[in-house]
Symmetry: C2
DNA sequence: GGGGGGGCTGTAACAGCGTTATATTTTCCA
DNA sequence: TGGAAAATATAACGCTGTTACAGCCCCCCC
């Protein structure tokens, strides 16, 4: 198996880029192989030679999306305080969904864990890590697994409603749910003051 | 325009039932008009005569789903205490997603409010009502709109992860997020004790 | 340098899809 | 009973994903 030449690798990338672009525009079901071919300047059998079938192509695009997602998360600065780190991770997660709504929808909704994607498990590991950091300092109330799932559920709820257009990107609901979940799965550090709830002054 | 005969109404129902069944089995993109026709014992133009096109058919199925959803919610008993009513509404909402995962996914994810559905706004109104009940007794902290969106976001996050198979139906995360959000958007009634967090005894 | 083999790409076709123009039957009212 | 309108069927169009087949081209080895 010789190393792939530059030309063939360029073809692969052209197809993947066209597919990713089309996926973001129209969604997975409206993505057409022929349209991908037209944009990438290749013909159908080339796509099938490289990616097997349409699902294989979409899967590879999603792998790239998950990789980019992990890189986005890793690029965030990590506050020392584990609880602040949770809030930062939340905001970073939601920001990715705001920036790439269609990809987010396909990654976390349409996919529905039919095929294991390494980058996807890596992404979930980042979540476990940031929650574990709170646990390591004795700041976690429920078991780690429950806390992770609760955190992810709430985060996903906010993000998916934004990604589908039900909520505006800057909805106060995001911070509201974020603070609620963080407050509920963590205990205040000894001697530290928990940040107050966001309140509205009522005359 | 004569009233539709029993026969024609029966074919409508046969088509709708077949479509709803197929939708729950395979999802919207894999629903095929021809398969619906085969199951309902009709031919394609009949479907197009009654529902316009495939989207129209799916839309009608979703209308029925939303109506059933509202009926399910309305059938729940409503505790006097607004905060307990919030928890009950949460559980009812999640239970519907558990019972009809594919329909839930299509109703709240794929649809993405492209077309207004009266029954859908009625469903949202039920949510507003139960949150308003808490506000009416002065138990709400954030503005009503923010509280509704936060409540819905968290509820949808839990439900959609269950509906897509990421979380088991009886995940403790549901109760965890539920209690977190309710605790955060409401204030304790004077003289009432807020139910304690679920804690694990640590030796 | 020249075969030659194998990965890569194009041609042309198939079955299935949503959709519709047209024709035919059925139904209901005057 | 006649006739109009609603309801259904036939057959076809263009599109889709997919693939058998054939040719190209690059790279390795003699």
């Amino acid at each position: 198996m010789p190393a792939p030449s530059h030309a063939t690798e360029a073809t692969r990338r052209a197809i993947l880029d066209a597919a990713a672009e089309l996926l973001a525009e129209a969604g997975a079901e409206r993505l057409s192989i022929r349209e991908v071919c037209a944009r990438a300047g290749v013909t159908a059998p080339t796509v099938y030679h490289h990616f097997g079938d349409k699902d294989g192509l979409v899967l590879k695009v999603l792998e790239d999306s998950f990789t980019a997602f992990v890189q986005t998360v890793d690029a965030l600065d990590k506050p020392q305080d584990p609880i602040e780190a949770l809030a930062r991770a939340w905001d970073g997660y939601v920001a990715y969904g705001v920036a790439h709504p269609m990809h987010y929808r396909i990654m976390f909704v349409r996919l529905a864990h039919t095929t294991p994607i390494p980058a996807a498990t890596a992404a979930f590991q980042r979540l476990v890590d940031v929650v574990s950091a709170a646990e390591a300092e004795g700041l976690l109330v429920p078991p780690l697994e429950d806390a992770c799932k609760a955190f992810w559920s709430a985060m996903h709820g906010v993000t998916s409603l934004i990604a589908t257009g039900y909520l505006p990107p800057d909805a106060p609901a995001s911070a509201l749910v974020r603070d609620a979940v963080i407050a509920h799965i963590t205990r205040p550090r000894d001697g530290a003051r928990r940040p107050a709830k966001t309140k509205r002054s009522k005359p």
